[in-house]
Amino acid sequence: MSTHSSRLAARLMVAPSVALLLIWMIVPLAMTLYYSFRFYRLLSPDRTGWVGFNNYLWFMNAPDFWLALFNTLTLVGGVLIITVILGTLIALLIDQPVKGQGLLRILIIAPFFVMPPVAASIWENLFMHPQNGLFSAVSRGFGAQPILFLEDYPMLSVIGIVSWEWLPFATLILLTALQSLSSEQLEAAEMDGASAFSRFRYIILPHMTRAITVVILIQTIFLLGIFGEIYTTTQGGPGSASTTLPYMIFKQAIVAKDIGRAAAGGIIAVILANIVAYFLMRGLGRNLDS
């Protein structure tokens, strides 16, 4: 399969995408890096110059920074935990011989097709709204005060919304994995006297490792950059309660119009993403080799 000519052709064929991605990554990154060491505020265009690490120091000493960092990781971790666990349970349920599996799948996959701003606005207005939302109607039906989701539990609400968006993805991948498990293996385990729980623990779960890996890998990539849902619903508030790192950078750039500090935040976010990526690839890359 490998001759000199085919290897040369292969290099040529990989080259365009590598080059494009390299440019797509390096150029904005270099520019961000450059700005992060500059004084650059749109509101005072006359003042420019190098400021050393001041932008970084300001960003890291900002009162919101550690909260934003914590919120970012909470969001990623929370959504991963919820989608993987619920996804596994739902996959196990649908994998049973149930009537109308095709239609079931159509219903379950639907949230995946809903673009983030729409998803966020459905939840914010139609469900979580304290006066007109469906949840408040339910609370009142029980004679209780409506829960102020976005005010009192902003992070939980955002995690809930994002989990709803990603649950179909997790469920369907896990379901596909489940369906590829041979029933003979389970029957053998049953003959060996394994209980339903043991069968899940020792046969089904190991079989799904690879699928769970894919779910975690792909979702983390998308979740680290979550922005639209927060922008539409809580705007990072109340206060900074639901501000994540991307949202903090956005505020610094668009609201405060301070490009230099926003750029420093951007570089910090990139470093964070790389740390997460490194651990993810190291921990999970192994599971992907088959």
Binding site: M1, S2, T3, H4, S5
Partner: protein, 329 residues
């Protein structure tokens, strides 16, 4: 047309020498079988000839021309793969016509050749089916059809029968042999099955760890194995190899006696029958003999030895002698 000559052909993957250096000449029209245990480099050697792998060094001549650096398509060879490698999205007709289409042959000539090949291979009524709708044997024929329409100067077969069941294998073996007799084209056939090698080959090349152990006609290898490896590999059941005092009697380090060259009834060796397999025509006995070890004996079908019986054995036929390095004396 179809003479292939390998001169000092070497192949290494990184540090590992898969083939440390091979010289071999395959004459025009010969049916040559590469045989050896798995991992011996026989498939790699075939792929080097095909051009699917680069040679690390050495020269491959096809019909007197240096083909070492030619791409596979320009070597004038056709190959039948172990998995048949049929194009699943094409009908049988399109599969067989594919090499002709790639060569830019006109449609009428393509059709003519496909029809002719289909007739030879009994595929005429399947031409518009897809490979997925065919049985294993039929797929095998399509793969052969795809090879013969090109009228190559040599055919390469890479373990083509290993995915077929036993009965079909015997049938296809004969068909390929007949094909060779009617086409008279050079064929190189890779297998790990020494029965295939014995029954089909004009010339067998026994490979081991990337080296050629012996080249020769089937009976030549059978009767005059040049070393212990060939002696043990060719022939089924395996030749009995005896070391020690018994071998010393024949002035050798090791002696070999084929199972059919031992008779049951009277003789110098006495032993207990361990396993006996009665096939009807023959009976295979495993007899453990004091001071010699376990001997496999091929006795006529009417010998009724059973587990635990004591029998006497005698060598009756050629005794192969080998020295301490394993070479035949």
């Amino acid at each position: 047309m179809g003479k292939i000559q390998l001169t000092a052909v070497r192949k290494s993957f990184g540090e590992v020498d898969v083939i440390p250096g091979i010289d071999l000449t395959i004459e025009n029209g010969e049916f040559v079988v590469f045989v050896g245990p798995s991992g011996c480099g026989k498939s790699t050697l075939l792929r080097l000839i095909a051009g699917l792998e680069d040679t690390t060094s050495g020269v491959i001549d096809i019909d007197g021309k240096d083909a070492t650096n030619l791409p596979p398509a320009r070597r004038g060879l056709a190959m039948v793969f172990q998995s048949y490698a049929l194009y699943p999205h094409m009908t049988v007709r399109k599969n067989i016509a594919f090499p002709l289409k790639m060569a830019g042959m006109d449609q009428a000539e393509q059709d003519k050749r496909v029809e002719r090949a289909a007739k030879v291979l009994n595929l005429t009524s399947y031409l518009d089916r897809r490979p997925g709708q065919l049985s294993g044997g039929q797929r095998q024929r399509v793969a052969i059809g795809r090879a013969i329409v090109r009228e190559p100067s040599a055919f390469l077969f890479d373990e083509p029968l290993s995915n077929l069941d036993a009965a079909l294998r015997v049938g296809m073996r004969q068909e390929i042999s007949e094909l060779h007799q009617s086409l008279k084209t050079t064929m190189i056939y890779v297998t790990h099955d020494q029965v295939e090698a014995m029954t089909m080959a004009d010339k067998i090349v026994v490979l081991n760890a990337g080296r050629i152990e012996q080249v020769g006609a089937p009976l030549e290898l059978y009767n005059f194995p040049c070393n212990l490896f060939v002696a043990g590999f060719i022939g089924s059941p395996k030749m009995n190899l005896i070391e020690g005092a018994e071998a010393a009697k024949h002035k050798a380090h090791t002696i070999g006696i084929r199972p059919e060259h031992i008779t049951v009834g009277d003789g110098p060796w006495e032993g207990v029958v361990g396993l006996s397999e009665h096939l009807g025509s023959d009976s295979f006995l495993k007899v453990s003999v004091e001071g010699i070890g376990t001997l496999t004996v091929r006795a006529p079908g009417e010998v009724h030895a059973r587990h635990g019986d004591r029998v006497r054995l005698a060598p009756a036929g050629k005794i192969h002698r080998f020295d301490a390095t394993g070479l035949a004396i």
